[in-house]
Amino acid sequence: MMNDGAMIPISLVLIPVLFSLLNLAIPSHKARKIVTYIGGGVIALLSFLLWLKTPIQVSLHPNVNSLIILLDYALIFYFLKEGIVYKHRTIVSLTTVQLVLLSILVAYFHTESTYFIVDRLSAVMALIVGTVGSTIAVYSTRYMEEGEDLNRENRFLSVIFLFLGAMNALVFSDNLEWIFFFYECTTFTSYYLIGYRRDELSIRNSLLALWMNQIGGIAILLSAISSAYIHGTILVQELIKTGALLPISLIVIGAMVKSAQVPFQSWLLGAMVAPTPVSALLHSSTMVKIGPYLVFRVSDVMDGTTLGSVVALAGAFTFTSALVMALSQIEFKRLLAYSTIASLGAMILCGGIGTPLAITAGITLLVFHAVSKAFLFLEAGISEKEFHAKTLEELFGLITKGPITAWMITFGAIAMALPPFGMFIGKWILIQAAVISKQYPTLFLLVFGSAVSVIVYMKLIGRVLAGRETERPRKSESLSPTYLITTLVCVVAIAILTLFYTSFANSVIEKVTEDIIHKSLIESGIREKGLGLILNAGRIDSWQLLLLFSLAFALPILGYFHTWRKADLVYEYTCGEPIEPNLGAYYFLDKLNDEHLSRIFNPIASVFLLLILLMGVL
């Protein structure tokens, strides 16, 4: 463990806090914009530096421990106050339980170790937070200029930066007590940001998010207590070495709550009433990735055990059920939320299987999902503010009003579902891993889900693309530079990461996998060949990748720029009638209404949760 570069993790936690305080203090919107740009750039640069300098171990001053415990109690009392103010009995009772458990932990099992341990998994998480998070923070400065109260914007930006700092600190912590504190910090930021608009719906949904996330916090506390009681340590790295299953299963449950897996999915769906940058940052790219992060952290222990198979099955069940429920969604952001839940289920599935191939698939999904989903949410925000289109019905024919946005949404949906992009490659490797590890029930659910995901995204593309040549606008819509820059950054990132996936896999993903499974990767058999990838049982060749990549990029570019000059233009076939058809989309509401379905799926998922707990005990 090297110690140079020790300042980088500390600065990655403290600099966001600094920018948070700056944003809180500055009254002018333009000045806050500049500060956000600078802050975003600094954080992104620091996270790149961090990746280059891992692994790092930083030992902090012992007083930091006491500070964190103090802040922890303050946070819990704040939640208690909120519960009392809103007369919410569940929050009050859950907070009291947390208070009791924390006190037990602090009194009996306190430890003096104060480390930030940064291995490559933490570094890649910090990289995602730094790059995607900064892009979204910059985007939100422009987003908040339309229709939101600019006077309160300082609190919004400051809480976003606070979240970036808390998230970084969580992935650097080794101590379960600290992980609990930063977990609850992210719960606090989520609670504040969901309720930011201060109308009745937002407040109700923020309270829902609060108590559901508190259940996760209780799971982490119970894991810490059990780990300390049975094995005498609350440090994660030591816990993994002992191979204990009960604390691990409790951590997994905490992870599942944070990732809004079924049966906890309602808080994430309710969180979509927040402003779109919140949905993009917290509820798709970064905060909900805490779930897969924790599962990957402990996946080495679960490799080959029944607990691992049950976790994989639970992840696969979430994957399929969330996508099936996504088929009937009419609101754009709810559709994206269900798709996020499904992808997180796939990542937890990877962690549950635990073989090197599966972990590679999981990290691929993690990175690509963060970028692609953030991109889609940014586009959702643009269509919400510029075109006042929140539902799929209002998005119909967007290509005649805003061709750039329509083609961006198309590109984003293609990047989520079709070859050669990273989500597809992750899914392909995952299916290979599931077949090789003989996890047939998981495979059964996985293949269904992957077919449904294609349907969900193609339907989305279909709504925005319906148009006529005769209605092509003379000029495309003019988007503000901030919107253009942030979305183009995402497009370029997706393009580069996809085209050079193999070298990205070799230099980044493989190293992360090695750190997770604590072995070197020679026996997993992933080799690169040109631009293609050779696995033990499968192969993707460079010519396939190149052809598909050019196809995927030729589609939006040609669609936007090319016209056939020699062809006649006609209208659609309406049996000769001169009518204008009024077209809706299939929502399968008679068969797939998500309220009915969640009544079926939630109990099944709860059974999985109980099984996870059981496997941990036995």
Binding site: Q432, I455, G462, G538, L547, L548, L558, V570, A585, Y586
Partner: protein, 279 residues
């Protein structure tokens, strides 16, 4: 030598596909006790389409037709050149998704309904094929077709998986009872309705290539003796055509339910039998 046969098959695949499609139409006609068109009829159709005046509704609707063809060529090339079987399945699904994307791109009622139904075809076909791939892995230890093609007579150890494939072939080839996306007289051709002339030609060509791919999938189970392979392909296709001529069209929900209630259990039973060692 190793590379020559697949490459020449790939180059000749439009020719083979056209003759295959013509044979289908002739067989169909003979089953209905009539004469039917000549076997080279699909080529006449293709050349006729190429010389029509181009008319279109919007440009990306047409671009998606070409993208559909390109994706189907990529899927067929991956299959013939011995790539990864999972990739073949996914690329085939991608080409259907591109067609439905194109069909969604026009504001025509039939086109939109057809596009949604085309996506449901993917839902019906892809899971079964992936489970068959899992079964193949259990039997041969790899997903790479170049090694699967070296195995002999897989039918002996995977008869139920082959039956599941045959059960899914009507949904793949768009023949009754599962031709829900191209429902003539119901939605008049579904996703293909707004294409005409030189812009319909790529879709027509892609259909031939899909038939070549299906023939390849059937052949995969009967390798070793070329005569047996050809007999197997002919018998299976004749059976599919007979089913086409004698059944009516079912609804899209029935198609999805049918594959899930019949095909997937067949493959799962085969998997279990292979795992236990009976087959």
């Amino acid at each position: 030598m190793d590379f020559l046969l697949p490459a020449s098959l790939l180059v000749l695949s439009p020719l083979i596909g056209g003759l295959l499609e013509g044979t289908f139409r002739k067989l169909n006609a003979r089953m209905q006790n009539r004469v039917g068109p000549p076997i080279v009829q699909p080529f006449y159709d293709l050349f006729k389409l190429l010389q029509k005046r181009p008319i279109l509704i919007n440009n990306y609707h047409v671009i998606m037709a070409y993208a559909h063809l390109v994706a189907m060529v990529i899927a067929l090339a991956t299959f013939l050149l011995g790539g990864d079987f999972l990739l073949v399945i996914f690329f085939h699904g991608m080409s259907l998704a591109l067609l439905s994307m194109g069909a969604y791109g026009v504001r025509s009622s039939y086109s939109q309904v057809g596009a949604t139904r085309e996506l449901l075809h993917i839902l019906a076909v892809e899971p079964v094929l992936i489970m068959i791939a899992a079964n193949l892995y259990l039997n041969t230890g790899t997903f790479l077709l170049s090694e699967i093609f070296n195995s002999n007579f897989l039918f002996k150890s995977m008869p139920l998986a082959f039956l599941a494939l045959v059960a899914v072939l009507p949904a793949k080839l768009k023949k009754s009872p599962f031709d829900v996306s191209e429902a003539h007289q119901e939605i008049i051709g579904g996703p293909e309705i707004e294409y005409s002339g030189p812009f319909y030609a790529p879709i027509y060509l892609a259909k031939w290539l899909e038939e070549v791919l299906s023939a390849g999938l059937i052949a995969m189970f009967f390798l070793g003796n070329p005569v047996i392979t050809l007999i197997a392909i002919s018998v299976t296709f004749t059976f599919v055509l007979a089913v086409d001529n004698s059944t009516a069209r079912l609804s899209y929900w029935d198609m999805v339910k049918y594959t899930w209630e019949i095909s997937i259990p067949l493959v799962l039973v085969n998997l279990v039998l292979n795992y236990v060692g009976v087959l």
